[in-house]
Symmetry: C2
């Protein structure tokens, strides 16, 4: 049982059948065809040599297949993680230099270790603190930055930078040097990809292919663009005419790589590696959950941390770059009929074959083509309507989203993400520190009590009923103190205060001390504190505490019981 939890392949491998193998193989072929240009393109985006993307698509896939719990997740380089890799490594070394490549290896290893540790400590819940608006804003903004960063390849000019301001100004400076032939290739590829995305599917369907097959074939359009432009570049010697190409790529499988062992570098990359880990995890888990649900399967987020951790360690030690589960590839894998993680193993074999056989051809591949595939791919990441939707629904969520987007676009991806998370946790803590509470009164003639501000209710000037609508813990304990003191200051004739606690699921040590302080202060002010509607588990913990021993008043089962006991003398007097 426990072994199966940590080695999920024990679950599917023993029951693996020939039918599974056929489905998995078909899916693997399609995903491989899709992954070859993607892995090259994302390596380019990360500022790394093209083969690094291929290396990150072999061992990581094998390890995820063994340790991951999603049956259909396609692990490998993805756009946002590639962008983050570039941003984290930028201060360390010049893109493409040996130190830079070593940095990418280290990022993979560190991110792998962090994910593993988080998985073993079952810290998957940490990802919850990346709220939807923040992650959505972050991905939209990253998509825009990625698209902007690829324009230089389309135009064939020099440009650099990690935010829109830097990229924009360096493009503006160099736009005069636009290389027309490069632009022809780039824009051509771009138009082909956009057109095929829009019209290839209906066309194929029209030609008699099934809708699913037509959809899958459409997803392989990038490889077509790659093949055609590579052939053109080779046939017409475009490189000699100034068109940028991928260039010489080492042939063969990746070798075992050790990360650099400089402590200062580890420290410098720590925050970046953590952000890459968390973003990768959140992305991967949400894709995985969506796909698993369609087949009523489940993924285990804590084991996913271990799976992704193993994949990233694998990426690091085999000279790759940080990886995670990608959205579009996973959907294709799923739609193509992948049944088990074996599809991932077969894909790894496919990429391994590519590194053995295709590298001579890849040398001729124009970078403009890769840039075009990136731009088209990130188009799907950009979700501007989400801004309007969030604005309409919640201003505080919108605030966190907007800060994330603006900082990501204009400053850096790390700053955007950190600020967004900090702001949303801050807003959350702020809200929980002000729990809803209401002074309540009796609905005349009944046993019910309602908010005095909203209903016409009976009150007694000497007895106040305060209902607390949330668990009490340190974040709101002091607020309760203030609410109570405010109440007794405003109502000088008060003699009894009943705290009505039907929604209090928990009272932590801070709240207990606050209640004790409230009890004492009320005592000093000549007011007795009572409790009512205390839940069973809360009462169990309170019963041995000083609070109950020193309580000025009593604990009543219900507000009505308190009302009867405390207002009776007054009623009798009338």
């Amino acid at each position: 049982m426990n072994l199966k939890q940590y080695l999920p392949f024990l679950d599917w491998l023993p029951a693996y059948r020939r039918e599974h193998a056929v489905s998995d193989l078909v899916a693997a072929v399609i995903v491989t065809v899709m992954l070859i240009p993607q892995s090259l393109a994302y390596a380019l985006l990360a500022g790394l040599p093209a083969q690094v993307g291929l290396y990150a698509s072999i061992l990581p896939l094998v390890l995820y297949a063994l340790f991951g719990t999603s049956r259909t997740l396609s692990v490998g380089p993805v756009a946002v993680i590639a962008l983050m890799t570039a941003a984290v490594l930028a201060p360390v070394a010049a893109a493409g230099s040996p130190e830079y490549i070593a940095g990418a290896v280290l990022l993979g290893v560190m991110s792998g270790l962090m994910l593993l540790v988080m998985g073993i400590l079952r810290l998957g819940f940490l990802a919850n603190f990346l709220s939807h608006p923040v992650i959505s804003g972050f991905i939209t903004a990253s998509g825009l930055v990625i698209a902007a960063s690829q324009l230089k390849h389309i135009l064939g000019v020099e440009a650099s930078g990690h935010n829109l301001i830097e990229i924009g100004s360096s493009l503006a400076t160099n736009i005069g040097h636009t290389h027309l032939l490069t632009m022809l290739v780039g824009v051509g590829a771009l138009v082909f990809l956009v057109v095929s995305r829009k019209w290839l599917k209906p066309l194929l369907a029209h030609l008699g292919l099934g809708a699913r097959m037509a959809d899958l074939l459409t997803k392989t359009a990038p490889i077509l663009a790659v093949v055609v432009t590579t052939l053109l570049a080779w046939g017409f010697g475009l490189q000699a005419q100034g068109v940028g190409v991928v260039g010489q790529v080492p042939r063969g499988l990746p070798e075992f790589t050790l990360p650099p062992m400089e402590w200062s570098l580890w420290k410098q990359l720590a925050v970046g590696a953590l952000l890459i880990s968390i973003v990768g995890f959140v992305e991967s888990v949400s894709v995985g959950q969506t796909l698993a649900a369609k087949r009523r399967q489940r993924i285990d987020p804590d084991q996913e941390l271990i799976g992704l951790g193993a994949a990233n360690l694998g990426a690091g030690f085999s000279g790759g770059m940080p990886v995670t589960g990608g959205f579009s590839r996973s959907v294709v894998n799923f739609d193509a009929g992948a049944e088990t993680p074996a599809a991932g193993l077969f894909t790894a074999i496919g990429i391994a074959l590519a590194t053995l056989l295709l590298t001579p051809a890849i040398a001729y591949l124009p970078t403009a083509t890769l840039a075009a595939t990136i731009i088209v791919a990130v188009g799907t990441l950009i979700d501007l309507p989400a801004l309007a939707r969030t604005w309409r629904y919640s201003r505080s969520d919108f605030g966190a989203m907007l800060v994330t987007i603006l900082l990501t676009l204009l400053y850096s991806v790390e700053a955007g993400l950190v600020a967004g998370v900090a702001l949303s946790i801050g807003l959350f803590l702020y809200r929980t520190s002000r729990p809803h509470s209401a002074v309540i009164g009796r609905v005349p003639g009944t046993e019910h009590f309602r908010n005095v501000l909203r209903h016409h209710v009976e009150l007694c000037p000497k007895v106040a009923f305060l209902r607390v609508d949330e668990s009490l813990y340190f974040a709101n304990a002091r607020f309760l103190e203030e609410t109570v003191m405010d109440l007794i200051t405003r109502q000088p004739e008060l003699q009894d205060l009943v705290l009505v606690c039907p929604a209090v699921n928990q009272v932590d040590a801070s709240a207990l001390e606050s209640l004790e302080a409230i009890n004492e202060r009320l005592h000093d002010a000549g007011v007795r504190l009572h409790l009512s509607d205390v839940k069973g588990p809360v009462m169990d913990r309170l019963k041995d505490t000083a609070l109950l021993k020193k309580l000025g008043g009593k604990v009543y089962l219900s507000a009505f019981e308190a009302w009867q006991a405390l207002t009776r003398p007054a009623t009798e007097a009338v």
Copy 2:
């Protein structure tokens, strides 16, 4: 109205009468007598020249009287803040050096600015995140460190360090050099203070003084110890015999001081200044609230930030050290009958007179006496039973407390505090990320629904009812997704899932997207999602969202209504 909020003296000054002045003057005299040795001692504790303590007891008191909302809080140097000041400044310069003194000034100014900004932005709630167990553990541990740090003055040896390990090892090295005459003075003062604390009050009461007066006179024992040992030191020329004394103190009022304007120093002290601000604020507000409650008065925590901010700015610009409201002095001020903040103004005048008249005498004051007053004073801070109490009540609170204590004792006050806060926020976030939810079933023959695990209830295999007992927000949205997916995986025949939401006060944008994802995933899995018991305000916000438009099922008023609608066909079939 608004002006009175920011200038609270407009509230009491116009109504100030002669009777007030008499009460305030009496209280001020007693507090001044108490504050003179304390301010000298805490300057010593902070590693600063004695006069810095006096300077910090003049202008800050005036400014707090103008801007603070507590009528009886006594602001000035306090033990824990003095210890923190020493810890923050230790890496900056050697104790007592001009750079060190300038650092103390800067800490006062920075802490003042931070408190002011927090007050203006109404960020007083931030202090809520210092949970009671953390602050209590921190103060206990600080008290122990402070007491240990004063032993060197009692023994007349050299020692240094900012945690028990450093202090202990340096004391152990030098204990052979103990100066007997110094120890005689120190131990004498210590015994006198302890004895007077225990027996002076009954003795005075026995001599016919009222209990309150006896209590107040007992509090002035430290000044007696100071006067007697100063006279001894002067009369017998103890300084020449090797007994440490305060030494030459500049005579006269403090002068206007500018903080050093080095940006690197500001950056270096920022975290320390923030911690000093928050600890000072928390201490001060809890004292202020306790005292205000006794007279049914209120303090306004956000305006307290402004009052304390002004006081610290005043401390900085007049060559003082960070200040806050002290517990023991405020209680004495209150008990001595202080009616308005004018008592603080009168105390400031008293201290100003002391700096003009008493400084020649202070030069002979043995530091061993001051150390003895510190040790006795911090004895009241140490609360070891709180550890046992917290352990019994809550293990997670105990964990945060223990970490705070151990780190403060063995590493540093800053690390202890930061780790305690981070751990308690982390534990809190962890708890909120796993909200209570329960699968519920119908209590046979009624309209009530209860947890299936605790009650004998009616169930329908095709319809599940999941009750969520907390508001839904990003921290727990994903947990809900997992709970739901878990449920449908375990119950393959399920056709309808009803989310019962009587305790959901809020659904933020993340939770909304999670609900949409749940709805879609359930749809893919052939299950309809329904909602019931949605509160009015939540429903108002949900009604224009995609969730309700695409909801697979319906929104029912109650679980029972849903039960009737969804299980009817089955019942009819039977």
